[in-house]
């Protein structure tokens, strides 16, 4: 394609910093340029450029055959994405808010996730959209949806925490031959602290690989998404205490990078899982049992977790702040474990 790249999508080319949101836009854009099988569907993604403007300028660049404003029908357009994938296209579907993925639950779990196993072929597609709390969005604009799908074999789930990873992971997700649910935390979209200069050349971050954010000898925090930054903040607070905290960012939740977790816990002997999602049925449970299976002998303390409360996401700031895990919670949990 010979279109002129929109000004705001040339930041990396100009050597400028980008936000996590801009990193996703660039990743999407580059994949659409390099592979004409890739196309976008979602509500208000064309003229408006998406509720959060991730696809701003895409309609002008690629036209309305590849940037499709859909009716408000999450089940319908996700099902249509499945059909397009059967025909060799690589759809990328946007949920305006991931809270509204629920009408697509049927087609995602019963049809898309089972396709390969049923002999109906692979399902290369990405379902992406904003998740997460802290924005006073209330119960329907704040949820983390990973665990509603974590139990479904056949799906992959990705949840980046940095601009670099977001771009590399969205590109890898689009190139992946499996259906990938891609979660984008609203609070990270434009966070000034996350701005960074990205490599000018094409790169991906492979799915299924965790990243060690901080190295430490005394305790392992396994986390992802916005909680990576709260965990790092906690670890910095604890430097004065002489507690060496290792922070692992899962990046991909499904499949889980079990080796990275187990390897770290074997070194530190202590595990804290931190997730913004609610407690019961959160990923901490799965991680703990895997560590128990493979590294029980190395543990010096019980495995613990810091999570949101088991409740819908409340609207008011005071309730939401209490509902969400905070840096202070991580600090207290680490101190408790370190002293155990």
């Amino acid at each position: 394609m010979s279109q002129v790249v929109p000004e705001h999508l040339q930041k990396t080319a100009r050597g400028e910093e980008v936000t996590l949101l801009e990193a996703i836009s660039e990743g999407l854009y580059e994949e659409m340029v390099s592979d004409d099988r890739v196309f976008l569907m979602g509500e208000d993604i064309g003229v408006y450029g998406g509720a959060f403007k991730v696809t701003r300028g895409f309609l002008e660049a690629f036209g309305d055959r590849r940037v499709i404003d859909t009716p408000i029908a999450e089940g319908g357009f996700t099902g249509a994405a499945a059909g397009a994938a059967h025909m060799g296209l690589r759809p990328v579907v946007e949920m305006q808010f991931m809270d509204f993925i629920s009408p697509a639950y049927d087609v995602l779990t019963n049809y898309i996730a089972t396709s390969l196993y049923r002999g109906a072929g692979p399902m290369p597609m990405v379902i992406r959209g904003p998740v997460g709390g802290g924005n006073r969005g209330g119960p329907f604009h704040s949820q983390n949806i990973e665990m509603a799908f974590f139990h479904t074999p056949g799906l992959k789930i990705v949840y980046p925490s940095t601009a670099y990873d977001a771009k590399g992971l969205i590109k890898a997700a689009i190139r992946d031959d499996n259906p990938v649910i891609f979660e984008e935390h609203k609070g990270l979209y434009r966070a000034p602290a996350l701005r960074e200069v990205l490599p000018a050349e094409d790169y991906i971050v492979p799915l299924g690989e965790a990243r060690t954010v901080l190295e430490g000898e005394d305790l392992t925090i396994v986390t992802y998404g916005a909680m990576v930054h709260k965990s790092v903040e906690a670890a910095r607070t604890l430097e004065g205490d002489g507690v060496g905290v290792e922070v692992i960012d899962l990046r991909t939740l499904l499949p889980l990078d079990e080796d990275a977790i187990v390897e770290s816990v074997k070194r530190t002997g202590r595990l804290l899982v931190v997730h913004e999602d609610t407690r019961t049925g959160g990923i901490a449970g799965e991680i703990a049992i895997r560590v128990s299976e493979r590294a029980f002998e190395w543990l010096d303390a019980p495995m613990l977790r810091v999570t949101a409360i088991d409740a819908p996401v409340p609207y008011s700031g005071s309730l939401e702040d209490y509902f969400l895990p905070q840096v202070d919670d991580v600090v207290k949990a680490v101190r408790y474990l370190a002293a155990y």
Partner: protein, 349 residues
């Protein structure tokens, strides 16, 4: 004996309609002020230009406070209907400012609250759901042999959801006394209606469900009232589900954060000239139903009411954070985070 002036309404009723239109306008304008002052918690939605659709429709139903009247499921743009059903003005401001004293104790936003005695259930954000829920509420009227009807509002965009179809078809098949108000404001966020349907009018969908439908000028409060009164009579007489389409225009952005630069300003101007409140104001004067002084006094009165209500809500407390663990179940509280030792010193994680 009150004299019948217009579609079977007496002077007091006409003034009540006028008042409800003014109240809707004033309450939403007060929200804008509250937002500028930094009191609001989340998004702000306006129904500018759509007030008559909500007010005229709700006025055609039996509004009671003892749990025996008709039943409403509004949208955020049908706030005028909520007020007519007895939705409290202070509660409205409490909801938008997430106060502990509000009907949802700060857990939910704007018109998302319920009062089963007054007969309304607020929506959830996922579009379409309330059509299913209202099918069940009106089914219960049938099952118990109660002479009640339900009314559910949804935007034109919401008609694309599976829930909209499933709920409407269920209500049609079961002959539920449910009136679906289609708020055809020509937009769904940035998407013009043509991206949600190929039809000119939503009434064309009605035959597909085997139900009756009317389309009405949604800026004309009396026309809306008449159309809904007819629909309610049909629903009550056993004909079951009904559709009424309100034709009008969303004159402001989807929410306050949306400048709607994707809308032709000429269109907005065209519809601004058909302001439902001003239209009714002129009609009241032209027909000699009320002198101007009386109408202006009503406007001042509701503005005053809004100011008093907003000030009251502002002065009230925010929720206490730890209350977030309550009401998840009827009988058990969720554990507090074990790291909040001041709340609970037992490690419950």
């Amino acid at each position: 004996m009150a004299e019948n002036l217009s579609p079977g309404l007496d002077r007091d009723q006409l003034l009540e309609l006028y008042r409800a239109l003014c109240l809707t306008r004033a309450a939403e304008e007060r929200l804008e002020l509250l937002q500028k002052q930094g009191h609001m918690t989340g998004g702000l939605y306006r129904s500018l230009g759509q007030e008559a659709g909500a007010v005229g429709a709700a006025f055609a139903l039996r509004r009671r406070t003892d749990g025996t009247g008709d039943f409403l499921a509004p949208t955020v743009r049908a706030v005028g209907a909520l007020f007519l059903f007895g939705g409290d003005l202070v509660d409205f401001f409490r909801q938008y400012m997430a106060r502990a004293t509000g009907p949802t104790k700060g857990r939910e936003a704007n018109v998302h609250w319920v009062d089963y005695q007054k007969g309304f259930v607020g929506p959830v954000s996922p579009l379409g759901t309330m059509l299913e829920v209202m099918a069940g509420i009106t089914l219960s009227f049938n099952l118990r042999g109660e002479d009640r009807v339900g009314m559910v509002f949804y935007g034109d965009g919401a008609s694309s959801t599976g829930a909209w179809h499933e709920g409407l078809n269920f209500a049609a098949v079961q002959r539920c006394p449910l009136i679906l108000m289609v708020e055809a404001n020509q937009w769904a966020f940035s998407s013009p209606t043509v991206k949600n349907t190929r039809l000119e009018s939503f009434t064309e969908k009605a035959p597909g469900y085997g139900i009756a439908a009317e389309s009405v000028d949604g800026t004309d409060v009396l026309a809306v009232y008449e159309a809904v009164a007819r629909a309610a009579a049909r629903a009550r007489s056993g004909e079951g589900a009904q559709m009424v389409e309100l034709r009008y225009f969303r004159r402001l952005g989807h929410a306050q954060h949306d400048s709607q630069d994707y809308v032709d300003p000429a269109l907005i101007a065209e519809w601004a000239a058909r302001d439902p409140l001003e239209l009714f104001h002129t009609r009241m004067l032209d027909r000699g139903w009320a002198p101007e002084g009386e109408l202006l006094a009503i406007r001042q009165e509701v503005e005053q009411e809004c100011e008093v209500a907003a000030e009251q809500a502002i002065a009230e407390p925010m929720p206490f954070g730890p209350d977030a663990v309550d009401d998840v179940y009827t009988d058990v509280s969720m554990p507090h985070p074990w790291t909040r030792a001041e709340i609970s010193d037992s490690r419950s994680a």
